[in-house]
């Protein structure tokens, strides 16, 4: 199966839902009657109604409008930080595993070190040294997310390296990077795709922790993670404040998960060998 027809065989429903969510987040805010910032202190915690389909929040802001605006940030953070961390994790882990020996030892002990460093201080130091930039969110998230990816990839690479087809590739005189790129990485796609989809919600939640520390998204802008976080307190008397962001995040993730699995299955050239 070629890559293109692998894509066309992806399940339709999650693709459709995902597209709707993405498009709504991108273009929704332009056609909404309210902006995400517009407050009405006389209409706080209003239950869903025709005027406010998902109700209003503590400041009387329209939840739907906020949800869509927040989606831009959360989707961007979730996807971009995951892409970045996957990229780093895969390259790093594959290199360490493929090289083996002391290179591997040194690289993986470095991973241990980064794991252990206190994240909160890492973020604060980052802000002190660089300042409060939006793109620091991605750096901060990617900085923690790549670690487990690197470990998984490294573990798989060490095993793959022993396979005869890698020896065959080496015997051809392929340079290491090419072996990594052409043979190792494609054979890693299964855990990689899965772990990447696992990282997305984490990235989204880390983002809300970062904004707690003052890095990144600041009110009145918001993100799904922050909306969920503050919605928890209100859940008993204004459940829509929790339910709306939680549901849209869950639905997005379900779609991404199903898609991820489908892509994984479609990319597995050997799948047809199964019984």
């Amino acid at each position: 199966m070629t890559a293109t027809n692998a894509m066309t065989s992806l399940p339709r429903a999650p693709m459709a839902v995902l597209s709707v969510i993405v498009l709504a987040c991108l273009f929704g805010p332009f056609i909404m009657p309210y902006t995400a910032e517009q407050m009405d202190l006389l209409d706080t915690y209003a239950a869903p109604s025709l005027a406010h389909p998902l109700g209003t929040d503590a400041l009387g802001r329209d939840v739907l409008a906020r949800l869509l605006a927040a989606g831009r940030i959360s989707l961007a953070v979730g996807l971009a930080a995951t892409l970045a961390s996957s990229f780093i994790g895969i390259s790093y882990g594959a290199l360490a595993g493929y090289r083996g020996g002391w290179t591997d030892q040194a690289m993986m002990r470095f991973v241990d070190v980064v794991y252990a460093l206190p994240f909160l201080f890492f973020v604060i130091v980052l802000m002190v040294v660089i300042g409060r930039h939006m793109w620091l969110i991605f750096i901060a998230i990617a900085a923690v997310e790549w670690l487990t990816m690197a470990r998984i990839v490294r573990g798989q690479t060490v095993s793959l390296k022993q396979m005869e087809f890698i020896q065959a590739a080496r015997a051809l005189g392929l340079p290491p990077w090419r072996i990594l790129l052409r043979h190792i990485v494609p054979n890693l796609r299964s855990p990689v795709i899965v772990f990447a989809t696992l990282s997305i919600p984490q990235a989204i939640m880390i983002e809300s922790f970062l904004s707690f520390l003052g890095l990144g998204v600041q009110e009145p802008m918001t993100s799904w993670g922050s909306m969920i976080k503050s919605g928890v307190v209100d859940m008993e008397f204004a459940p829509w404040l929790l339910v709306s962001p939680a549901v849209i995040l869950a639905v997005t993730l379900i779609c991404l998960t199903v898609l991820g699995d489908a892509i994984r299955d479609a990319l597995d050239k050997r799948a047809s060998a199964g019984l």
Binding site: F165, Q167, L174, P186, K269, R270, G274, L275
Partner: protein, 524 residues
Amino acid sequence: MTAIVELTDLTIRYGDIIAVAGLSLSLQPGGCLGIVGESGSGKSQTGLALMGLLPKAANVSGAIRFGGLSVSGAQRRERIAMVYQDPQSSLTPHMRIAAQLAEGMAHPAADKIEAALRRAGLPDPTRVAKAYPHALSGGMRQRAMLAMALARQPDLIIADEPTTALDATVQMELLQEFVKIKQAGTAIMLISHDIGVVAGLADDVMVMKSGAVVEAGPAETVLTAPQHDYTRELIAASVIKAQSTCRHNPAKTPRIAVQGLSKTYRLGGDLFAQRRSITALHPIDVTLHDGETLAIVGESGSGKSTLAKLILGLEQPSVGRVTWDGADIAQLSAAQLRAARTKVQPIFQDPFASFDPQRSLGASIQDAIDMHHSHSSVTALLADVGLPPDFAAKYPHEASGGQNQRAAIARALACAPDILICDETLSALDKTTQTQVLALLAKLKREKNLSMLFISHDLDVVRAIADRVVILKDGRLVEEGSVDDIYERSSDPYTCKLLAAQTVPDVAAMRAKISAFETSAPAP
């Protein structure tokens, strides 16, 4: 008596590809059906269909009756055991041989496992039982696979090329074993490209080509009086003619020299296991001269593949050094070594495992072409080894054993190498294809002055292509000499025995040979 299996009109399709077309056969208890035919003709697919183990991509039609009943694959598998063509990938890599054997047995016990391994011709069953598949040689894995089938005491054994990785003497022993189990009432379906093997064992023979049966009947009839052109061709091809190579006058420049090379593997590797080791190769000196074909012959497990891997620099020697054109490969930088690899190309013993499962065969060959900026095309290379152009799109698991092997040859040739290291390169091919590939190699040798290190247990092939022969036994060099020296004048008892155990494509002669063959005592 009811047939133990009966296939009617079996057809296996993969999309547009018809792997097996309307095949029918039947096999009596205690009978032996030999299936011969060209590579890719659907032999293995037929076997897998009987086992009910065809991949889900397969579209199967036709009737399979077992013991007169139409039963499910799982029920058939209760009574059928199969020796798979590809022992390397077909053994579970993380389980010891003993464990893999035990789970197929009704009442496993250590001594029964060892007995089964011994019956399969393994000289050191205790070690093999404890070993993981990767620590075994190609031939040992094949016999372990066979032992696994024997240990199940099935009513039918489907043996798919069970002796391709074995030298003639061991092959002989196994044929004797097959005769025994056959006499005990077990039916055998023997798939082989070696007409001699089939001749020695089969009651009936079926000849296949492109998924269809071309001819079937009692062995004597089919093999002595073939009706069909293709059958005739096959039988004729089984006597391989010497290739006209410039055998006489190879230049004496050494291309590859091996000095005092040895390899010791550590065994065990468990947490507190006492360290044991096995010396796969004792210090050895070998030289491959320019334009020469040096054959390495020796019984299974004698260290041939180990030697090849050491020469290729894919394994680190325990002692000794390897030089390519005078340069010690251990001294070369990574980049220099990579550059030098252009000249030296291997063809691995196990072609399936040597292809990336996630890349098409064409892509793998293209990689080699790109690597060396050679001008060949995938299509041309495939054609050279007798594969159609559309093969480029196939993945390794979609090709037959022989097709993968040919793709491996094509990949090695894609680099236009000066030196080929061939490890049992022709073992999975039928004789016609073998002849074709041999001719190709001879041509390259003539035109491009190709040097070859040719590992094989097939003495006919060796004789046909080699200039010099080195004989290994238990990791030691026992004899070295020109082909003629070895074949005509050898005094080494092992060499003589090897020569004596050659198969012949003749029913009567072969059967006599089998019953007369003297079983060697297991090596100490």
